[in-house]
């Protein structure tokens, strides 16, 4: 071993001087988890941002113009404008879900990052809340802002009012990252996420009015669609971007927030059982 010569006496012999006194810890601890994830994201920022921009652009140009050419005005607006609001919600849902499923699971079960964090003065609650906010607010906003930029670029929206969708984007993100974290904390392998996408996310996408108005669905299915959180996100976002009055804004917000809070509360309990049994 050549590095023996480099060894020095132990730094700091006092004990407990660096760790700030416990009662001085008025900090929002989930922030440290968000910060950790942000630093990893920053390393791959470029490819991530390109994906955020190019994906919706292809979708909107391809479907919006391509399919739109065959379609009459929907809801009184060109199909591209109709679709853009749906795509904003769909991409936000996807990006929050991906982060809270695959990425969070790899930190929980593969890299055991969560376990490492728990060796510090952090709790399971801090970790799960941090992941929830990272996927539901940060990652969702990144993709939401990217699509909004594309929408401005394509002339689908203008002025300042469309910027008010950004809080809605966060609501949609928190809703779906909360639900996804329940699946993640229960999962024993990545396979569960494929099922979740096939059985929950994909049907949600078709029933919530992303690609076509929900009133073209049969009555029974329309009732089902009303309890799906994405429907409530679509109603809010489409109302805002098309400049129309919102019909049930408080209900929409309550449903999105309700799913998200219930999800994250449940995920904390499941993670606690999983990590500290």
């Amino acid at each position: 071993m050549t590095d023996r010569s480099a060894l020095q006496p132990m730094p700091g012999a006092s004990g407990g001087t660096l760790g700030v006194a416990p009662d001085a810890q008025a900090r929002f601890r989930p922030l440290q988890v968000i910060g950790r994830n942000f630093l990893v994201w920053r390393k791959l920022m470029f490819s991530s941002l390109v994906g955020n921009l190019v994906d919706p652009l292809i979708f909107l140009v391809g479907l919006g113009y391509g399919l739109g050419a065959f379609l009459p005005a929907l809801d009184g607006v060109p199909y591209l404008n109709f679709l853009a609001a749906g795509m904003l919600c769909y991409s936000t849902m996807n990006s929050a879900s991906f982060e809270a499923l695959w990425s969070a699971y790899s930190r929980l079960a593969v890299q055991r990052t969560w376990e490492g964090i728990l060796h510090a003065p952090m709790t399971v609650r801090d970790v799960v809340l941090g992941e929830w906010l990272w996927a539901g607010a940060c990652k969702a906003l990144l993709s939401g802002v990217a699509i909004l930029l594309v929408m401005y670029g394509l002339g689908v929206v203008d002025g300042l009012r469309p910027l008010t969708v950004l809080p809605v984007v966060v609501l949609i993100g928190l809703c779906f990252s909360g639900i996804a974290l329940v699946v993640t904390t229960l999962a024993r392998s990545y396979d569960s996420f494929t099922y979740y996408f096939t059985l929950v996310i994909t049907p949600m996408m078709f029933l919530s009015g992303v690609f076509f108005p929900r009133n073209s669905l049969p009555e029974a299915i329309r009732l089902v669609a009303r309890v799906l959180p994405l429907s409530h996100g679509v109603d809010l976002v489409r109302g805002i971007t098309l400049g129309r009055p919102l019909e049930h804004p408080l209900l929409n917000i309550a449903v999105l927030l309700g799913y998200g809070l219930l999800g994250v509360a449940l995920a904390i309990r499941i993670a606690r059982r999983r990590l500290t049994k």
């Binding site: 071993m1 012999a13 004990g15 407990g16 660096l18 760790g19 700030v20 890299q111 055991r112």
Partner: protein
């Protein structure tokens, strides 16, 4: 087993019990560790060492019993107690998304240590761990020994009073083990309290002032290695091997030694004075004998048996 709790105990554990699905993993363990001591928990695989440590750290809630760590009740105030504690888990969980330096800085953030202060401490920690030239290396590029030393360095980011180490040297080659021992000694010299588990008896004898031997969830012995050897076992051991060892054992084993165990092709003979025993070997030219002083491994084997546990 329990021992009296000294007033300056950094860790005091009483009557700790924990079952998994009705199967007991820890059955009424109690011990206390005074400040500045190196305390070792020994035991075969599955004895309950890791479960005991996890209960001490508040990472697992025991079914019953109490733990006091750095003066705080655990698990109630476990999070607060961990400000003063370092943890080296049985299996490394370094963050593979980051470099060596980033691992230390980011772990310090979980303690609320400002990034600038954490970054200023990195060179000292890396030098201590013998990783001075690895500051920007990725975790995947480190050897097992380097990862272990980085995990030890990570456990020191908060300058803890007490450090828990679960099998710090398992899986390391002899050079790497000696380096880790050297580092642990310098931590002890710096006044830290160390609580470690191991199944290397030489490691325990070398580092620990006191050891607790666990078996099947129970603490079956607790003392300094020297006292355990004196109390539990005869001072001299003769290992006899070679053709005909079983015949020799049948003829002389019981009379010449106070205790004998035949394992495979070797007879382990324990005696207060081995002179008479060695004399019986004269007529057995094909046997070879190795006489040595009894050590902690002999105590461990006597108390926990020779059976393999997996």
């Amino acid at each position: 087993m329990t021992d009296p709790v000294p007033t300056a105990a950094v860790l005091a554990v009483r009557e700790l019990r924990k079952s998994y699905g009705g199967v007991p993993a820890v059955r009424g363990v109690g011990f206390a560790v005074p400040a500045g001591e190196c305390f070792g928990l020994l035991g075969p695989n599955g004895a309950g060492k890791t479960t005991t440590l996890r209960c001490c750290l508040g990472l697992t809630a025991p079914d019953s019993g109490t733990v006091e760590l750095a003066g705080l009740p655990v698990p109630q105030a476990a999070r607060e107690a961990r400000y003063r504690v370092g943890v080296v888990p049985q299996f490394d969980n370094l963050d593979p998304d980051f470099t060596v330096t980033e691992n230390l800085v980011i772990f310090a953030r979980y303690f609320g240590i400002p990034a600038a202060q954490a970054r200023a401490n990195v060179p000292k920690l890396l030098e201590f761990a013998g990783l001075g030239d690895k500051a920007t290396a990725k975790i995947d590029a480190l050897s097992g020994g380097m990862k272990r030393r980085l995990t030890i360095a990570r456990s020191l980011v908060n300058d803890p009073q007490v450090i828990f180490m679960d099998e710090p040297t398992t899986g390391l080659d002899p050079q790497a083990r000696h380096l880790v021992w050297d580092r642990l000694k310098s931590l002890l010299n710096a006044g830290k309290t160390l609580i470690l588990t191991t199944h290397f008896m030489d490691e325990a004898e070398r580092l620990c002032q006191r050891v607790g031997i666990m078996d099947r969830g129970e603490l079956i012995a607790l003392d300094s290695p020297r006292n355990l050897i004196e109390r539990e076992i005869e001072p001299q051991v003769v290992e006899i091997y070679g053709d005909g060892v079983r015949d020799w054992a049948a003829a002389f084993g019981r009379t010449a030694s106070s205790r004998i165990e035949v394992a495979g092709e070797t007879a382990f003979c324990y005696a207060h004075d081995a002179t008479a025993l060695l004399a019986t070997l004269d007529g057995w030219p094909r046997l070879r004998a190795l006489k040595r002083a009894a050590n902690l491994e002999d105590v461990f084997i006597k108390l926990t048996g020779r059976d393999i546990r997996d």
